[in-house]
Each structure stands twice: as C-alpha cells, then as structure tokens.
Symmetry: C2
C-alpha cells in the first residue's frame, strides 16, 4: 500500500491501487485523467487520441461519409466468445460497413457503475483496442462518466464512428430489384444463444460462442468482385426475421426465404429448441445480409466463401413481386408461412 | 382504450397507450419501430434520418473533420433552464466547435430505464430537436436500448457528432504563445449551481438556471474578425480551473488568472458560498474559454460581446512564461495562489 499522506492530495494513487472504479474517476479532474492515462490511453493510444482535446480532428478523403452509433448494454459484460468492448467496436464498424463505407474513426463513451472492477474494465478496453486494430479503425475520442452504485449495471459503452463511402457504391432500398438474391454470410443465432446459454446455465458438448466480428473486410472483398450490391444489413437485435421485414417494408418488395438453406450450427439449434427460440429472431453480431443482383450472385457468393469471415455464406432467399413488404418462409417440408417482424422483447440486453 | 384483440399482435398499441417505456420498446421489433416513429422520428425527422438505415450517409466537404462524443447522465433529467436532451445536443455541438469546426451531423443514442414516462421522454426529445435546429445541426442516426428497472437511472443519452474544419483554423496547444489573452464568454458556474440548487432544495429570489447553449455561432463570429484564435475549450466538468490546468499542461506554459475579472452572477456566488463550492471548479454548459493572440484581443472581445451568447465576455487572464504548466490566481485582495486541477468528484452526475 502506498502512503496516502506523504503523497498528499496533489498526487493521487496510481490506478493499480484502486481495485474498483470510484465516483471520483468521473469527476473530470486528476482521477479522471489517471483512469484515462492508465487504462484508456494505455491501450487506445494514437496521435489523434493522445491530443486529448474535446474532439478529434481527423482527415477524410471522400465527400460522402457514413455516421453511425450504438449503445451496448449487454449482460453479462464478458461472455463466451467476447465481451461488451469488442461488441461495441465491431458493432459500429459493421453499421458503417453496411452503408458501403470504409470505417476509419471511432469514438467510445463509457458509463461506468461505481464499483466496477478496474481489472475487468481493462480486459474490456484491451479487447476494444484489439478489435479496432483488427478492423483497421482508430479510436480517436471518447468520454467517461461514473454513476453511483445501483444507477447503472456495471458498464455501458456507446461507440460512434465515421467512414468514407467510395464513389460508385449506393446502398439504398430503392436499388433492390425483383429477382435479387438474399445472401447470409454464415450461421445464424450464434450471439444471442451464447448469451442465453450463459444466463440459463445451459451446457453443450461444444460451447456456443458469440460470432462478434468486424465485417468491413468481407464487404470490401464483395465490392472487389462486383459493384452490384444493392443492400447490406447486419441482423442484430430481432435477428434475420426482423431485418428482412425492415428491408421488405422499405423496398416495398416481397421476400421469399428457403428454410432448408439457412445455416444454423447444431448446438445453436439445440439451444433454441430447449429454450423455445426461433433462430430467425435471435441476434447475430458477425453476420451480414446482402441483397445482390441475380447475375452477380455466384461471383459474390464465391468471394464471400473464400473470405475467413464468410466461409459459411449461403443464398437463403430471393426478392419477389408476389407480396409487397411481406417476408414468406418456404419451410423445409414444403409449406409456407409469413415471417413477422419480432413484436416485443425476446432477449433483453442481448447487445 | 383500443381493443387489443381485434388489433391482433400484428398491430401493437400506439405509443400513446403506453404511459411508460417498457422493455419491449428496446427489442428491435415492432414496439421499437413504434417508439422510433412516434417519438424520435416525429421530432427529429429529416431525409438522412428517415432512411432509417443502420448508419446515416451524409456529405462533408473533403478535408479535415472533427469527431466528438459525450455521454450525459445528469440527474435530475429535467432541471431549471434545460434538460438532459438539449444538454446532449449542445454539449457535443460545443465540443465540435471547440475544434474550430462547424458542427453538421449528430448521432443520438438512448439508454432508457424501463418505466420512464413516455411524456417525459417526449419533452426531452422535443428539446433535442429544438436545440439541433437552433445550432444548425441534423440528428441523422441513433440507437435505443431499454434496460430493466434498477439497471439505469431514467435516461442516459450519448451524442456524437462531426463537423468540417475550414482551412486556416488550427486549434492546437502548440500555437499557444506567451502573452496570449484568456477570454471567458460569460458568467461561470451557472449550470453546476442550477443542478445543485435543485438537489439541495435551495431557493433564491432569482432562480439559478443552467447556461446550456450551443456556442458554434459565437465561434464563427470570433473567426469572422480574427484567425488568431489559438485554443478553444468549454469548461464543463471540473470547471474553469480544471480546463485551464489541462491547457497549461498541454501547452507547457503558465497561466495567470485575475480573480476580480472573472464574471459570476450574484445568486450563483451566494449558492457557492452556502454550499461550499469554489465557482472556478463548477461546471458550465454554455461558456467557452478562448486563448487568443494579444494583438487581436480587443477585436475578438468586442465581437463576442456583440453576440447574444457572449455579451458578458471578459479577459480573465494571460499566458505567461513564469511557471510552466501551472495556473496561478491573482486574488482580488492582491495575493496569489496556485489553482489546482480538481482532484476527485465534486458534483456527481452534473452532466
């Protein structure tokens, strides 16, 4: 233990001497600087961030940019396959990539409940740093607030980001055309069932892990082989079903899904059955839905399958003229049913 | 009351039938869309937002941009002179303006505690919309999460924003020069004491109100008369004292403050005395500190005083060569004392 008195108030204890975050770490003074220097800057350090101004001053080339944000409130904050930190980086990277943009800069804002373990916070910050490096973005600015015990739940992270949209890319519902193929970049429902398995104490022979992953490099690979990508969306909260309903509604087209072609891992399917979930409604955090022109489907699918983040990609449906704004599932046994948007809350605090 | 059964599940109740936000409003499905359409889009509507993609696709002049974010956790969420919503808009607008940038686009992310009154949420969203219009920014993208009762405190809002930095503007500590004047744009400690007066139940003849205000138009007016603005910062958490300490440290220059020239409202000064606060450490939400070249000080000060957001502007100090990284206050009675950065947490959840 350090001698508190000889140090005096002017020289507060190093962060290592705090096992947990205290209210004063959010006061905007010395302790806040200490937390920032010894946890956030230590892992995020880059010239733009290190200037430590109220905002970051950065360069963009293109005229069109994408701006996106998400708040992460997932519980537990550390789960099989990831934690809230990498989820917050990958999620916003993906939202930017789904605009056809190349993510460049992120902001990260932390709302910390007094009492959060500093060690746990550092694990999460480290994971954010690694996720940012992996996806090629810089965390250039941020904010830290601390609220009293019982006024938040451990840690909420809000990231926002910007990316440049290269010329010639136009993700817009109006470009969706009858006959377009609907591609999913891999197995569905992994993230949601990883969280639910932990919460429910389920154990399987092979652990269900979150699919949290940045998709920007996969998107670049897709654009490398074809410009005819009409729409991109990552099916997070509400799952594939809700995302496709949103797309069908905004494009005013019908969507037909083929149940037998939707990839679901065996352990995820079992967990869904045990807990009574339909995988179509369960959140994903490392998958994208692409709506692409019929003529380029094979080319794009091949490129996706060759990419490590898209090896299980599959065509799962088609845009139709039959039933505007409605998603219909052709079931494995040959029947048909309407797939509604999720109504209420299936899995609170999944992301 | 609407007939729940005849409507069926496909057509949930309009938001007016919910007095409070429920968990399902955060599920990413129909109820989320309803909350977005009937509260957020109703007030924020603009073509970029209305596209309702995962991110907004917007235009910026190619070149330098500023990116900033802040989370707002102020309690109470509605206070004399404002609420958490306009604070969240003005705060991020100001952080961007303090980079010398012209704020253009904001994102807004809401973490709502189950049970928040929908009416209260709408008051706050309306205030955000008005604040955005007043400062000339568009809220183009956002996110909504709902957490169970007791896992947050009513409402947290995180805004992020981007702005374009016109050529020739260079806010950087390295440009701060010995002899530069330190200007404050008005009376200090208003926001912090407005919050504290409510919390402590203090009453004065004239109510203390928050100074929450967007400063981007004042900054433009300053640049109109002079390019020689070396540094800008809004003294929020930690107050003028902490902000000047940060500036002194990053510029490696001394700062001398003149106590008698620091403007403080009479009721604010009384509240500080009663509650034992030093106004130099109390948060402001509509004031800026400008560090400007000596030769242009009069010109800039005159322009600020002519602007409605800067009418009480005053020169409160000077950059010196005497004591690198230290802020010294020349007191009204002729003494001198070192003004330290705030150490811990003086006023939790002030912003």
């Amino acid at each position: 233990m350090t001698n508190n008195i000889s140090q005096g108030l002017n020289c507060p204890l190093p962060i290592d001497n705090y096992a947990t975050v205290v209210l004063a770490h959010g006061g905007g003074g010395k302790l806040t600087h200490q937390l920032i220097d010894q946890v956030f800057k230590k892992h995020f350090s880059n010239p733009d961030l290190d200037l430590m101004h109220d905002g970051a001053m950065v360069h963009v080339e293109a005229g069109r940019i994408a701006l996106s944000t998400d708040s992460y409130v997932v519980s537990p904050i550390i789960f099989p396959g990831g934690n809230i930190g990498e989820l917050a980086v990958n999620g916003t990277v993906n939202d930017i990539a789904m605009c056809g943009a190349q993510p460049k800069y992120l902001s990260a804002s932390f709302i910390i409940e007094e009492g959060l373990s500093v060690a746990e916070l550092e694990i999460i910050v480290k994971a954010m740093s690694l996720a940012a490096k992996t996806s090629g973005v810089s965390i250039v600015t941020g904010d830290t607030k601390v609220v009293p015990r019982g006024k938040a739940d451990k840690l909420f992270i809000t990231t926002a980001g910007v990316g440049a949209i290269p010329d010639g890319r136009n993700i817009h519902p109006s470009t969706i055309t009858v006959g377009d193929a609907i591609i999913i970049s891999g197995t569905i429902a992994d993230h949601g069932m990883a969280i639910m398995s932990v919460r429910e104490g389920l154990e399987f022979e092979s652990e269900i892990v979150s699919d949290t992953l940045a998709l920007n490099s996969l998107v670049e690979e897709m654009y490398r082989v074809s410009p005819n990508i009409h729409f991109l969306r990552d099916p997070t909260r509400g799952g594939v079903a809700s995302t496709l309903n949103e797309i069908a509604a905004s494009a005013k087209k019908g969507i037909r899904l083929f149940e037998h072609s939707i990839p679901v891992k065996e352990n995820v399917r079992s967990a869904c059955e045990i807990l009574g979930f339909d995988p179509l409604y369960v959140a994903n955090e490392g998958k994208l839905i692409a709506i692409v022109s019929q003529s380029d489907t094979e080319k794009i699918l091949a490129a996706m399958r060759n990419h490590p983040s898209g090896k299980d990609s599959a065509v799962i449906g088609q845009v139709t003229n039959d039933h505007a704004s409605v998603v219909v599932l052709q079931t494995a046994i040959g029947g048909e049913r309407v797939v509604e948007m999720i109504s209420g809350e299936q899995l609170p605090r999944i992301c």
